[in-house]
């Protein structure tokens, strides 16, 4: 299709034509399937642009960033754990114990990525006390210890 026809259709789509221009555009549309397809594409693109404009009113890029960053560390940790699997077991267990003790002190729980079969790899409770009530093949339950009085743990070891 010629550029002149495309411009005519764009102007028709945008409502910029006078009656003669509209008549020419309609005549073109009635005779030319390509012209009808082009107009349909213009309408589709216009609709998508309107949707994007509506959705883009409050871009929330921070969500993406804040979820991605810790996960990158988790992937590195998993890769590192695979590399370290050749170390003697007692060294690995000792390092894991020290890391877990340090993590509890600073409010983060870094859970070894393999061995126990648990799901949790990284946890940040923003300074609040937290306990992993269950982490096995049946379920994983992360419970923050700021629950209302009527809801308390039934089992476990670290509730105050």
């Amino acid at each position: 299709m010629s550029e002149r026809k495309i411009r005519l259709l764009e102007a028709y789509h945008d409502g910029e034509l006078g009656w003669l221009g509209r008549w020419r555009a309609r005549r073109l549309l009635s005779r030319d399937a390509d012209a009808r397809a082009t107009l349909a594409s213009l309408e589709t693109v216009g609709g998508l642009l309107r949707e994007i404009e509506a959705e883009a009113s409050a871009p929330d890029l921070w969500d993406t960033v804040r979820l991605r960053l810790p996960a990158l560390d988790v992937r590195r940790a998993e890769a590192g754990a695979a590399d370290a699997s050749s170390l003697p077991r007692w060294i690995g267990a000792g390092l894991a114990t020290v890391a877990a003790a340090l993590a509890m002190v600073i409010g983060l729980q870094l859970v070894p990525p393999s061995g126990s079969g648990g799901a949790v790899r990284w946890l940040d409770s923003r300074g609040s006390p937290v306990v992993v009530l269950q982490d096995d093949r049946d379920a994983t339950i992360i419970w923050l210890l700021e629950a209302p009085a009527e809801v308390s743990r039934r089992t476990g070891s670290a509730v105050s």
């Binding site: 411009r7 764009e10 102007a11 945008d14 910029e16 594409s41 693109v45 998508l48 642009l49 929330d60 969500d63 993406t64 804040r66 979820l67 991605r68 810790p70 996960a71 988790v74 992937r75 990525p113 393999s114 799901a119 949790v120 790899r121 990284w122 946890l123 940040d124 409770s125 923003r126 609040s128 937290v130 009530l133 269950q134 093949r137 049946d138 379920a139 994983t140 339950i141 992360i142 419970w143 923050l144 700021e146 629950a147 209302p148 009085a149 009527e150 809801v151 308390s152 743990r153 039934r154 089992t155 476990g156």
Partner: protein, 157 residues
């Protein structure tokens, strides 16, 4: 008759639209590729409290009770919301909770040992976990209407 200024503006608008058309095509193609690596996520929001009421007569509530009942003490349980969605890897699914806070989940990596997800219960905790297929992953609680809200996440892939 249109002024030269408005004609020029229309020309610019058309050029911009052409560029956006190309960009959209590229984005749609990328999105189509990304959709091929997607997982189905189920999110169930459960309200528990110490008030009498028992477990709601609802299969979802009975399932939630089976998950929470062994670990948490409560006298009533009901499911206040449940959603299912196919989520592409690296996409963030944001679920609004009844208390106005958000639960965010982002599937990141699918491997033999499970699906790596990043989870954020707004104002409470951020967790990364590698969850197995159809194994419930619970984060909670958040205060709500005299009780607690917990979120149960399950992945199917």
């Amino acid at each position: 008759m249109q002024s030269a200024e408005s004609t020029s503006a229309s020309r610019h608008a058309r050029a911009l639209r052409g560029a956006l058309l190309l960009l959209l095509t590229a984005l749609l193609a990328t999105a189509a590729l990304g959709q091929s690596a997607a997982v189905t996520l189920d999110v169930m929001v459960v309200h528990t409290s110490g008030a009498e009421g028992g477990v709601a007569d609802d299969p979802r509530a009975r399932k939630a009770d089976g998950i929470l009942g062994r670990q948490i003490k409560y006298k009533s349980l009901k499911v206040v919301d449940s959603k299912r969605r196919k989520v592409a890897l690296n996409e963030i699914w944001k679920v609004m909770l009844p208390n106005g806070k958000h639960f965010l989940v982002q599937p990141l990596d699918l491997a033999d040992n499970g699906l790596l997800v990043a989870v954020d219960l707004e104002g409470s905790a951020q967790v990364d976990a590698r969850i197995k297929k159809k194994t419930p992953f619970v984060v909670g609680p958040q205060n709500y209407q005299g009780g607690s809200l917990s979120v149960i996440l399950e992945a199917n892939y």
